[in-house]
């Protein structure tokens, strides 16, 4: 069974249709890149998979391990193993990062009927994951993303991926706002989490990120549809020729 299956998905925001019948199949262990120009619907797809309010699905379906994902609340999806790394992670003043991570992990474990992690158990796990991502402990004491640099915010997203161990990770424009060094650190963190059972969907405007996170499949989106799919070489082709050819095709 596929891990994630998007079938002929049609989505509206207010009165405007953004996705016009998008299909995508993701199997365990695969890394898919979704590329496309601004406004092609890439972020909408990531939001709808995660369950963000404000989108109306007017057709099609999304199955996660064969279950109807669209029937689940965002927290149910998270507990099942769907993770969205936000393009713009929000700042939450007054909520210490460590406390947030602990509460979130235990909420997911509770939903899955697993035992709650005690503070010492959790700290051990969190510090180990943070160390592997070069995240200083001091950062974990601060409010969630408060005063974090762009790179720190993205590393915090990847830290959450490492702790929650999701089955599908959707990385929404992970490269936005990052310089090349920060990008490399973030990409290394993501690559370390690649595994046989885990799939990733990397959404990006630029080919650059795919030099660091090398995908198995590349899909080109334009005007709310996937207009071309191929292997990793498709990304290089796009870099050379641009998106214009697909705008006409769509």
């Amino acid at each position: 069974m596929s891990l994630l299956e998007v079938k002929d998905l049609k989505v509206r925001v207010e009165e405007r249709e953004i996705l016009h019948g998008l299909s995508l199949t993701v199997n365990p262990g695969e890394v898919h890149a979704i590329m496309g120009p601004n406004g092609s619907g890439k972020s909408t797809l990531s939001h709808v998979i995660a369950g963000k309010p404000g989108y109306e699905v007017t057709g099609g379906e999304i199955l996660f391990r064969g279950e109807d994902l669209l029937e689940m609340s965002p927290d149910e999806r998270a507990a099942k193993g769907v993770f969205l790394a936000f393009q713009y992670p929000v700042e939450i003043p007054g909520v210490a990062t460590m406390n947030f991570l602990h509460v979130a992990l235990n909420a997911q474990r509770k939903a899955r009927g697993e035992s709650q992690l005690t503070t010492p158990e959790f700290l051990k796990k969190a510090y180990a994951a943070a160390a592997s991502l070069n995240i200083p402990r001091d950062m974990l004491k601060r409010g969630v993303n408060v005063g974090f640099s762009g790179g720190e915010k993205k590393r915090n997203e990847i830290l959450q991926m490492a702790l929650f161990e999701p089955a599908v990770c959707i990385l929404d424009e992970m490269d936005s706002g990052l310089d090349i060094d920060a990008l490399r650190v973030a990409a290394d963190g993501v690559n370390a989490l690649r595994s046989q059972g885990r799939a990733m969907v990397v959404i990006t405007h630029y080919q650059r990120l795919l030099n660091y996170i090398v995908p198995d499949f590349v899909h080109v989106m334009s005007k709310g549809r996937v207009v071309k799919s191929g292997g990793k070489e498709l990304a290089l082709e796009l870099e050379a020729s641009g998106y214009a050819q697909f705008e006409d095709a769509a």
Partner: protein, 441 residues
């Protein structure tokens, strides 16, 4: 509605109860005369109503309807229920002073081993045997505010605390008000804290209900004077019963180079009003006030602060937060006056309200009256719902809607709680906020 009739009804019922209670009210001579005058002032005005500007959001005639008769002195059973209730706000390393149904409870209080320079007596003692100067001080608040006048007329007990010059208390003092009576009744208390020069203290006031306490009314007041170069940290936590009313007044004056840091949180009582006047009497002093209302159901809570910058070079900061759910109603009235010679005043006031339901209401009334020309004054207010993008982020990480809301509310309130310096008191405030969140479900 016939206002005159309403006033007469409440007025005369209370006149009877004042007459009945008189024998139980401590003090004779000047004290008794001051009570009579205060009662006359109250009887003339009656319960404040919405056509009085200062009470327009908190119409006590509609919300409280009447002043209940004076609570009977607690019996053994009531003291024992109060003792169990006291545990809710018990913290280590704090000197507890307990008032049960408005009467000082020596057995529940810790009066042994007083630090040098600390004197504690009861209001009853002070009114019966205290010197004339102290008695006059206890009648400091004038009778212009009817609820203060009522409190002056009826005050039965309380604690009178003196901290000598140069004494910095290491142990916080806690005044615990516990209602335990099984018949609806009112308690009238007044306390006084005099902090000498170069002194320091921490005072916490707790309002709680014993199991089975019936619809009761707390009428309390606190007079504070902070000497030159002294610092007072003050915390108020209200977890009164949901069918209780709590009308409390504060009168605070600061000497020169003094510091008053106060935090108040209302999560209890069906109807409450906390009205405080904070006056700068010496230069170079600073006041920080942090207030929080945590309200749901049909709770109504009013905080009315009057910051009186009468002298130059003083700073005041007021931050007031409200979390309002269901059909609850939060009121904040903040008046700042900068008198003509109070140059270099720096006064700021901020209110932030979080509305969790469509029927929740938060009213803010800032009033700045500035008569000096070289000052920095400002106020701001925000009102809104919880941020949808933050809620979604938390839900995408596995928190349910209620859990996500609770975490954001904790963060909102937590910023205010951070202003409490003492660790134990901070934890007490966090626990009280937690109880409110848990009761929300």
């Amino acid at each position: 509605m016939n206002v005159a009739l309403v006033k007469n009804e409440t007025g005369s019922a209370l006149s009877d109860s004042f007459a009945i209670a008189r024998d139980r009210l401590p003090g004779t001579g000047k004290v008794a005369a001051a009570r009579e005058a205060a009662f006359a002032a109250y009887a003339q005005a009656g319960l404040p109503h919405r056509r009085i500007e200062d009470w327009k959001y908190t119409d006590l005639r509609a919300l409280m309807r009447e002043v209940l008769p004076l609570a009977p002195a607690p019996d053994t059973a009531e003291f024992s229920r109060a003792a169990s209730a006291a545990k809710l706000h018990a913290i280590d390393g704090v000197r507890r002073l307990v008032l049960v149904d408005g009467v000082f409870a020596p057995k529940l209080s810790e009066l042994g081993g007083l630090e040098k320079g600390l004197v504690i007596r009861t209001l009853r003692e002070a009114l019966e045997t205290g010197d004339a100067a102290l008695q006059a001080l206890l009648f400091t608040p004038d009778n212009a505010n009817p609820m203060v006048a009522l409190n002056s007329a009826m005050m039965t007990d309380g604690v009178v605390i003196d901290v000598a010059d140069g004494v910095v208390l290491t142990q916080p003092l806690q005044i615990v008000h516990i209602a335990s009576g099984t018949v609806p009744a009112a308690m009238f208390t007044r306390s006084l804290l005099r902090l000498g020069k170069d002194a320091g203290a921490t005072l916490v006031e707790s309002y709680i209900a014993a199991e089975g306490a019936k619809a009761y009314q707390v009428h309390d007041s606190l007079i504070i004077s902070i000497g030159n170069n002294s610092r007072l940290d003050h915390v108020r936590l209200n977890e009164d019963g949901r069918d209780a009313s709590n009308i409390s007044s504060g009168v605070v004056s600061l000497g020169a180079h003094a510091h008053f840091n106060t935090f108040g949180m209302m999560s209890g009582a069906g109807v409450s009003r906390y009205q405080a006047t904070i006056a700068f009497a010496g230069e170079g002093s600073r006041v920080e006030t942090n207030g929080v209302n945590l309200l749901n159901g049909k709770q109504h809570a009013d905080t009315t602060l009057f910051m009186d910058h009468a002298v130059p070079h003083c700073d005041s900061r007021e931050i007031f937060r409200a979390v309002v759910d269901d059909r609850a109603h939060s009121v904040f009235q903040g008046r700042i006056i900068v008198r003509p010679h109070a140059q270099k005043t720096d006064a700021k006031m901020m209110t932030r309200a979080l509305l969790l339901s469509d029927d929740a209401e938060a009213d803010n009334k800032p009033e700045l009256e500035i008569f000096a020309d070289d000052v920095t004054c400002g106020h701001g207010a925000t009102t809104g719902a919880l941020d949808e993008s933050l809620l979604f982020y938390l839900r995408a990480r596995g928190l349910s809607e209620k859990e996500a809301q609770a975490l954001l509310i904790q963060a909102f309130v937590g910023e205010a709680i951070e202003s409490i310096v003492n660790d134990g008191l901070r934890e007490l405030a966090i626990a009280a906020a937690q109880r409110w969140l848990e009761a929300r479900g």
